[in-house]
Symmetry: C2
Subunit: 209 residues, 2 copies
């Protein structure tokens, strides 16, 4: 598991020319950082005097941000496997018409999976941004900037994961699938950017005091 | 050192209610991820046939991205110390006028340092975005999206670090220092966002094929 590496080792592995971890895993870690920061704001609020009304709603936010953090860590590993599967299909023989057809079919299936994993990373990141909003609104004032950092990192990680979706979509022949996926992405990114901007406005207001 | 923790342990520590690591360290790790991805694109290009003209310029980019990655890792640790110093000054006695004056002086010095560390993180992140541009322009086409991911994460990390600058600036009494710092920040963020957008345009064009 890449998350069993030391932080410094993970960064070294990312910087190296090895195929994995790559950008998809980097994006996933960005999203996991965002989720962890949302959890931190919840943990700094639940049980704290003066924030009694926030305790129960932030317990629920915490449960969701921790679930997203686990899921994103799984997807970080899944992304490296999805990439390996594409490479494996790419190297299949193409000496006969039958081999070519088999290879093409395997490639299309692998590409689709390799689009779906970063798409789920992106969706998870957009959900982290959604959770950063109540964390910024109801959380400990001393930690409001951490909700802001979480939203910034998770929104960027969503866009980063989507680059890896788009790379794979651009080689998929099923145009209806590609178009439906792109439409879903547009709706998600617009909503996510709006939410991130709301979080930043709350943070800016709170910092001004 | 926090970068000696496993990735999963770092995320757990970030999510916890412990004061450190906090948002500043999260932002630093986002910047380090960006630097590592720029390095990866360089490493996937240098020595690769068909990219001979990129080898030498990307050797220089690689040297700079690796230096930034080291520096950001140092700043990740420094940020936790700067925060601890503010807390220490905050807890100083204020029983007499003299104690109050001493505490105020210590607070102002600690706040200034606690603004300067994330400011250097932000500057380093903006430099990572600058390096992502030649990496996207001259790097291996197969890795162009990784330059895009690097730019997205580093730009968000810059903004994230700046939230931690602003928090501390808002408590600093030296208005000339505060204004000069804010002016520098505006210039940096505008330039950085322009560069990030250029990187994304190159990536989008390359993915379309």
């Amino acid at each position: 598991m890449f998350t069993d590496l030391k932080v410094s080792e993970f960064l070294d592995a990312l910087a190296s020319k090895d195929a994995v971890p790559g950008g998809g895993s980097g994006a996933a870690l960005g999203g996991a950082l965002g989720a962890a920061l949302v959890s931190m704001v919840c943990n700094l609020t639940i049980g704290k005097k003066g924030y009694e009304e926030s305790w129960e709603p932030l317990e629920e936010i915490l449960e969701r941000s921790e679930a997203l953090r686990s899921r994103i860590a799984e997807l970080l590993e899944a992304d490296t496997q999805a990439y390996a599967n594409v490479m494996e299909a790419y190297r299949m023989p193409r000496g006969t018409e039958e081999a070519k057809a088999n290879r093409k079919e395997a490639m299309q299936a692998a590409l689709r999976h390799a689009a779906e994993v970063p798409l789920e990373i992106a969706k998870s990141c957009s959900k982290v941004v959604e959770l950063a909003l109540p964390a910024a609104e109801m959380g400990n004032r001393w930690a409001v900037s951490d909700a802001g950092v979480g939203a910034l990192l998770a929104e960027a990680a969503m866009h980063a994961a989507l680059l890896n979706v788009e790379i794979n979509l651009s080689s998929i022949d099923d145009t209806a699938y590609v178009q439906a996926t792109r439409d879903g992405i547009s709706a998600m990114t617009e909503e996510c950017t709006r939410t991130k901007d709301r979080v930043q406005a709350i943070v800016a207001e709170a910092i001004k005091g």
